[in-house]
């Protein structure tokens, strides 16, 4: 017996070690790997991550030294490029602000609740799992920084993943490209919802979209908020390929917006809140007032009894053809009555009117030339003489309000538009 044991000693030990590991696997399968092995994983990460943190520090320090002191070529050109970009973004911001304000008003009407990110923690990526079968990264912040499991991790470009496990000073983040991850997603244009999953080879696919739906490559994919981890509306990626999958579903491949292969810094969403949408209440604001603020003002002139018709208001006479300016986007939503009032306050000089007095024409042109107006300014106005006179008599002169951000001047109602044919919409 002893000779048999001695002869097969190596083999017996091998079988014993393998058996123990298989037993461990069986326990994990039965009880759930993450819960049972949490401490072991934290210890393992605690051994490896300090070295990785040191490597990152050395690399960052040397990189900073190089970039901040030695390698400054191209900074001037980059600066110029960034300035141009800022200008473009400022113009874009004006439009987005208008859209956002409108969306908030609608949300208020519908009693929507919005979810917003109230607190984030910036963290640096210090390592990976080292295996292509386990797509996770390690970040250098953990529980001590307020990071907990199931918190969303993002970059400026898009969604990265979620916190899987948090140690004291490091956290393990499961990337959205891992095959065990799942993100509730929605297609931006078609509003189709699905589940975003990773594949074994590291690609990302959108599942659970029926095969009879139309999805175009290039469409943006956003988070739907259905997973209770990622706030709604965060950019996930872009559709790259659509094909028929199995079980009546489409196989939609996604290119992630964030570069998951080269992550350096990420943001962990440590706090998100839900609140009722509240729009800023400035009392009851009439559309006419809003329009009046947008229209160019007419400077006060001393009354000239000798020339009563020289006042701009005097040009609006009953039966005068209306002024029609270029159609614009915002004015379509403005009530006609309000537009009438506003236009009457400051009657524009248009092609439809009779040749205006020289004083009025000069006034309007001067105003436009002096002050650039927001892009979303009034488009179509009607002149209603009676109202005009009443408004002019009761309300003070409109004060010019310079917008916080001054975009390029856009054609407004006050600009003369000789090309537009006259239209006779005067009250009968």
């Amino acid at each position: 017996m002893e000779s048999v044991l001695g002869r097969y000693r190596n083999l017996i030990i091998l079988v014993g070690v393998l058996f123990l590991q298989v037993l461990g696997l069986a326990i994990q399968v039965k009880t759930g790997a993450e819960r049972e092995t949490r401490l072991i994983r934290i210890w393992a990460a605690g051994v490896v991550t300090p070295f990785e943190r040191g490597l990152v520090w050395v690399q960052t320090s040397s990189g900073n030294l190089w970039h901040n002191y030695f390698y400054l070529r191209g900074v001037r050109a980059e600066n110029r490029q960034l300035k141009e970009q800022i200008e473009q973004m400022r113009v874009e911001q004006v439009r987005l602000t208008e859209d956002a304000a409108q969306a908030r008003r609608l949300q208020t009407l519908l009693a929507f609740k919005e979810q917003f990110v109230s607190k984030t923690v910036a963290a640096q990526v210090i390592g990976t799992s080292g295996s292509d079968l386990s797509r996770i990264i390690y970040v250098d912040k953990g529980e001590n920084a307020g990071i907990k499991p199931d918190m969303a991790v993002i970059t400026a470009d898009g969604v990265v993943g979620k916190v899987l496990l948090a140690g004291p000073n490091e956290a393990r983040v499961l990337l959205i490209s891992d095959q065990t991850s799942g993100v509730g997603a929605i297609l931006e244009k078609s509003r189709l919802q699905g589940v975003l999953r990773g594949t074994p080879n590291g690609e990302i696919v959108l599942e659970r979209v029926m095969a009879d739906e139309q999805v175009q490559p290039g469409e943006t994919v956003l988070t739907s908020g259905g997973d209770q981890i990622f706030p709604k509306g965060m950019r996930v990626g872009t559709v790259t390929n659509v094909s028929n999958g199995k079980d009546l579903f489409l196989n939609i491949q996604i290119k992630p917006a964030a570069n998951l292969g080269r992550l350096e810094e990420v943001l962990v969403l440590t706090e998100k809140q839900e609140r009722q949408v509240i729009t800023e209440d400035h009392g009851r604001v009439r559309a006419a007032d809003i329009l009046a603020q947008r229209l160019p003002s007419v400077p006060d002139k001393p009354a000239d009894p000798a020339a009563p018709g020289s006042s701009p208001d005097a040009t609006a006479k009953p039966g005068t053809p209306n002024t029609v300016a270029k159609p614009n986007n915002s004015a379509a939503n403005i009530p006609a009555g309000a537009a009438k009032n506003a236009a009457a306050k400051n009657p524009p000089n248009g092609a439809g009117t009779a040749p205006p007095p020289a004083a009025a024409k000069t006034s309007a042109q001067t105003t436009v030339a002096q002050k650039p107006k927001p892009v979303n300014s009034v488009a179509a106005t009607e002149t209603k003489p009676q109202t005009a006179q009443a408004q002019t008599s009761t309300e003070p002169a409109i004060v010019e309000q310079k917008p916080a951000i001054e975009p390029k001047p856009a054609p407004t109602a006050a600009q003369p538009e000789p090309q537009v044919p006259p239209q006779d919409n005067s009250p009968q």
């Binding site: 190596n10 490896v48 891992d178």
Partner: protein, 173 residues
């Protein structure tokens, strides 16, 4: 001292100091975890912990030492991922045992033999890993022979360099 089949000569059995025994696998794990941050394909084609397992197992020429080396390195690699702990452990235990057993019988000091042995053990490692992953854990892992052989060749080439570097730490018994 065992005698090889290839040369008929007695082969050396080596040992390593404690810092090398602990430090080299640790460094391999750190590099394996750190480099993919900058080179995403590194983790797909290179398995440094496997190379270290093969090196220690072949140099010590002791199956028991080899299987324990493989088990510990493999389990540590499992702990850094998020899958089941034991998949890499089982695969590297088998490789460690086999490499030690082979090291007793074959002279594996020249680069050509090392390359072929590393290629072979890489494939053994992946066959064991995929078998366990599919049979016991029900993981959906696609198998590709082309990828396996390519990764095996890459590991073999890197292994030759790594072994050449690690040969400096060998101590004769």
């Amino acid at each position: 001292m065992p005698i090889t089949y290839t040369s008929g000569e007695q082969v050396e059995v080596y040992r390593f100091s404690l810092p090398v025994t602990i430090g080299v696998p640790l460094v391999a794990l750190i590099i394996q975890a750190y480099v993919p941050k900058y080179v995403p394909g590194f983790a797909v084609y290179v398995d440094l912990p496997l190379l270290v397992t093969i090196f220690f197992a072949m140099a010590r020429r002791s199956p028991i030492a080899g299987l324990f080396t493989g088990a510990i390195i493999g389990l540590a690699q499992d702990m850094l991922g998020h899958g089941m702990i034991g998949l890499y452990g089982i695969a590297k235990t088998v490789v460690g045992y086999a490499a030690s057993s082979l090291g007793v019988k074959l002279d594996l000091e020249n680069p050509g033999a090392r390359l072929l042995v590393t290629l072979g053990f890489y494939l053994v490692h992946w066959v064991v890993y995929f078998t366990v992953a599919r049979a016991l854990v029900n993981m959906r892992q696609p198998w590709s022979w082309a990828h396996g052989i390519l990764a095996g060749v890459v590991n073999g080439l890197i292994g030759v360099l790594v072994y050449f570097f690690l040969d400096r730490f060998k101590q004769r018994t």
